[in-house]
């Protein structure tokens, strides 16, 4: 628990700093508050801020950096043995960490004393049993270098933990002392505090950039890693997808892309006509009362989580389609999970998405255009078909593109409703699979992250990210162009 104590201590120091700073400011002007430059609370906040922020920042950075550095220092201990390439090394490091954690648990449970844990040797061959007593299960017996590395890992971690606590507290105290020293009646505390707050606001805004950066980096690094062990041309142009964790997998993305496109196409074929016509009716024909009921009701569909749609596809729509198209009916369908099942359900999910976006866009068409058309004697439907739709077309295309990007990125419906077989076929009643479904199946389970079968998921994720991002950027560009046209 030293981490929580460190945190509590710096929070306590900050609180103390608040009162000290406030008091010192008032004292420096002999109790006459009117002589202070700022309200007295700002002096307190200034001290608290300068105590807390650097210490917290250091703590966070340290927490992130510590395991990386400790592992790097430990790695040369195992590097000299049987470890040639980095792939195996990560596996060994996982082992080392597991043993180190096991020793920690054993010490905490009282099975081992601290000294015993440090002096254990692999020759005695009892480590697995000892750890087993403490409730830590190890897969295989521990080799000597791994044990040594684990022990080194523990000592280094312990030392780093101690240093961290000391460093963080020192920084907090330093901040406290320094900010208290600068506190006196003439100090422009409010301006300084406001500068600080502004910095925090900017920092919060930058988290969006950090997130994007995190996504891109985690995708790019792992994708590069993947292409290093698996040829890129095979990945992009092979039509076979048959991963086997034993090795010798064929990981072609084409069947997955085909499944994704096919399902999205069916989904759009359901969602676009229904959503568009509903939007037209709601914005052009419906009375206020109908609108106030129908619009929120349609939007309920958008608020339902995708897992619900997934289950709906698997347990309701699939069996229903089987009755019509299955062996008892037309005989086109082999199982309830198929492209059609997933596509239909995804279409239902997208209806409110298309309808509310198109609704906005149709409403943005200026009334003058409608009035002009009515003035020429057109009926309402002629106005809609010949004036409003053409005028709103770019926006509607944008909305459809956004819906398409939604469909491509949708996961739960296809995981539950589309089946798992990767194939390229024209029959919509056959099971196919998608990029997202395969990301899930390749990354869940106990695969190690260095095998091509797991890393391929990052390449798939990269493809997905690029595809959806492209569609979005295009759609937003079109929509924005359209808006400008009428503003």
């Amino acid at each position: 628990m030293p981490f929580y104590w460190t945190l509590a201590t710096i929070l306590g120091l900050a609180a103390l700093g608040f009162f000290l700073g406030r008091h010192r400011a008032v004292a420096s002007v002999g109790g006459e508050r009117r002589k202070l430059h700022s309200l007295r609370k700002y002096y307190g906040i200034n001290v608290a801020m300068k105590t807390l922020t650097p210490a917290l920042g250091l703590l966070v950075v340290w927490l992130i950096a510590q395991p990386v550095i400790v592992e790097w220092r430990v790695s040369d201990l195992v590097a000299g043995t049987d470890v040639a390439d980095t792939r195996v090394q990560t596996l060994v490091m996982v082992d080392v960490r597991r043993v180190a954690n096991g020793l920690d648990t054993a010490v905490a449970a009282g099975v081992l004393s601290e000294a015993d844990a440090a002096s254990l040797t692999a020759d005695s061959g009892t480590i697995r049993d000892t750890l087993g007593d403490a409730g830590v299960a190890l897969g295989s017996d521990v080799s000597a270098p791994v044990l040594a590395a684990a022990q080194r890992y523990r000592t280094l971690s312990a030392r780093a933990d101690l240093t961290r606590t000391v460093a963080v507290l020192a920084v907090a105290l330093l901040g406290l002392g320094w900010s208290l020293r600068e506190t006196d009646g003439d100090f422009r505390a409010r301006n300084v505090v406001e500068q600080g707050v502004r910095g925090l606001l900017i920092g919060a805004a930058c988290i969006a950039i950090l997130t994007t950066l995190g996504i891109v980096l985690s995708l790019v690094f792992n994708t590069i890693e993947f292409f290093r062990i698996y040829p890129a041309s095979e990945f992009f142009f092979s039509t076979t997808w048959s991963p086997s964790f034993g090795g010798g997998s064929q990981l072609g993305i084409l069947p997955l892309l085909w499944g994704t496109m096919y399902i999205s196409l069916i989904a759009l074929a359901v969602a676009v006509p229904i959503g568009l016509l509903a939007a037209i009716y709601l914005s052009e024909y419906a009375s206020k009362r109908v609108r106030s009921v129908a619009k929120p009701a349609l939007e309920i569909l958008a608020g339902i989580p995708t897992i619900v749609y997934g289950l709906f596809a698997l347990l309701t729509v699939g069996p229903m389609l089987m009755k019509v198209f299955g062996d008892g009916g037309l005989g086109w369908m082999q199982a309830g999970t198929a492209v059609m099942t997933a596509g239909l359900v995804m279409g239902i999910m997208l209806i409110p998405f298309v309808s509310s976006l198109s609704d906005d866009i149709i409403n943005a068409v200026p009334q003058a255009m409608r009035d002009g058309s009515y003035g020429l004697g057109a009926t309402q439907s002629e106005t809609i078909r010949h004036v409003i739709i053409p005028a709103a077309l770019p926006g509607i295309v944008g909305a459809i593109l956004l819906a398409a990007s939604r469909a491509i990125g949708e996961t739960m419906i296809v995981v539950l409703g589309a089946g798992a077989a990767a194939r390229i076929s024209g029959n919509p009643f056959e099971a196919m699979t998608t990029v997202t479904a395969k990301i899930v199946s390749q990354l869940t389970g106990d695969a190690d992250f260095s095998s091509p079968e797991a890393l391929v998921a990052f390449a798939l994720g990269m493809t997905l990210f690029v595809l959806t991002l492209g569609l979005n950027v295009l759609a937003l560009y079109i929509v924005r162009r359209f808006r400008e046209q009428y503003e």
């Binding site: 960490r97 900017i202 995708l219 792992n222 608020g303 897992i307 997934g310």
Partner: protein, 448 residues
């Protein structure tokens, strides 16, 4: 003059009272078009009704469970061999020691009710859940004085028996079932007539923990609900302050420059990134790189925070934008600093809008499944309540949608019922959150 009359004579005589063909066609087209619109909305409504209907129809039964009321003679010779009623001594008798007691009690109940059956007394264990034995043992260990007496117990019936009462299991399907015979169902019918087998509301489904694949009758949502709760705490605690801070900066302070543009484009793009990509981010950054524990609500919460941030930022900015500039000007006019005008005046006025947006963002995060799949919150069987706050954040747990997914994947159809039931629980939370958001908006919304 003559020309004009000639032209008039050439034109067909038309009355404006009778409608001509062309107008008729156009009016018909108008009607058709309107009908398409109504049909589209009707289709949407039908989908909604079918969806909600099938959820309710399939899920409501999950809240009821079949129990068997059976008097059990707690034989001291089997439960407490030493005879000193010492709970520690008695704990040595495992559930294996208790099973015969229940089987005997069942057989006795059957003969007592005068039910003719060809089922051997030893096969009576198909009637009750295997968890019933553990229930019995716990009761006895908690209260050793019961030993030697005949105590009436309310035990969970086996999932097949439960399914039979709920029409999920039929006599036809039982013929191919190794777990239970038609004879058992006869006993169930007879006991039901006597009132020994009853269907009751099952609190354990709402409060209990997940169970192994072979005993769906015992599985519940409780622990997964706590997992979701801790995740939502993380999401609320991080995304509200960060989202509000970011929006305040972008809306009130940001200069028109490159950085601001980049941030804005970023936010609108992040809002459209598929949720599974956030799962990949969580896996690579939080679990691979930072080595956070897998399946922990803390990591799930962090990933969902990043996912909901854009939603919250967008709605917060709209709320800030709707506060009229006159408020800011007035505050600045009486000598407030820019920061004070924002934090003392604009922010409180925008608060209802911000909270509404936050609740809707949270509701979205609560139902999200895909990213949780990747950080390992699926596949983990949530069996233990976390003890304490820090273990609530760090111990492996499941989450409501992940638990539903897990159940949907299991082979036993009894779990499908649980999955639908779980969806009802999840939707109740979502509707409640949305209702609060709507109420907030109605109550505090101000038009300037």
């Amino acid at each position: 003059m003559t020309d004009a009359t000639a032209a008039a004579a050439l034109a067909p005589k038309k009355s404006i009272i009778t409608v001509d063909d062309r107008t008729q066609k156009r009016n018909a087209a108008e009607k058709r078009f309107r009908a398409y619109g109504i049909a589209a909305i009707a289709a949407g409504m039908v989908f909604l009704v079918v969806l909600l209907g099938s959820i309710l129809l399939n899920g409501v039964t999950a809240f009821q469970q079949t129990f068997i009321q059976v008097p059990v003679y707690l034989d001291p010779a089997k439960v407490d061999k030493e005879g000193n009623r010492d709970p520690e001594e008695m704990a040595k008798v495992s559930t294996f020691g208790y099973k015969p007691l229940l089987i005997e009690a069942m057989a006795e109940l059957v003969t007592e009710r005068g039910i003719e059956t060809e089922i051997a007394p030893g096969d009576m264990d198909a009637l009750f859940s295997s968890s019933a034995v553990a229930q019995l043992r716990d009761r006895v260990l908690a209260n050793p004085d019961l030993v030697g007496e005949t105590v009436s117990f309310n035990i969970l019936a086996a999932s097949r028996v439960d399914g039979y009462l709920k029409d999920r299991v039929s006599r036809d399907s039982v013929a191919r079932d190794k777990n239970i015979d038609a004879g058992h169902l006869d006993i169930v019918d007879a006991l039901r007539a006597e009132g020994d087998v009853v269907k009751r509301f099952n609190w354990d489904f709402i409060l209990g923990s997940d169970a192994s694949e072979s005993r769906p009758e015992q599985a519940g949502m409780g622990v997964a609900m706590l997992g979701s709760f801790f995740m939502m705490l993380v999401v609320l605690g991080l995304s509200l302050p960060i989202g509000v801070a970011a929006s305040i900066y972008l809306e009130e302070f940001a200069p028109q420059n490159r950085l601001t543009d980049v941030i804005e484009v970023n936010i609108s793009n992040l809002a459209a990134v598929p949720s599974i990509v956030f799962g990949i981010l969580g896996l690579a950054v939080f679990i691979q790189f930072m080595e956070f524990p897998q399946s922990a609500p803390l990591v799930g919460g962090l990933v969902l925070t990043l996912m909901t941030l854009p939603t919250i930022i967008i709605s917060t900015r709209a709320a800030l934008k709707s506060v009229p500039p006159s408020i800011r000007d007035a505050a600045l006019g009486v000598g407030a600093s820019k920061m004070q005008s924002v934090f003392h005046h604009v922010l409180p006025l925008a608060m209802p809008g911000i909270l509404t947006g936050t609740i809707i963002g949270l509701a979205q995060a609560l139902g999200e499944t895909a990213p949780l799949l990747l950080i390992g919150m699926v596949g983990y069987i949530a069996t233990n309540y976390p003890d304490g706050i820090s273990s609530g954040f760090l111990d492996p747990n499941s989450a409501m949608p992940a638990q539903i997914y897990e159940w949907a994947k299991r082979a036993d159809p009894a779990y499908y019922e649980r999955a639908w039931g779980g969806i009802i629980i999840l939707l109740v939370f979502l509707f409640a959150m949305n209702a609060i958001a709507i109420l907030l908006r109605r109550k505090f919304e101000r038009r300037w």
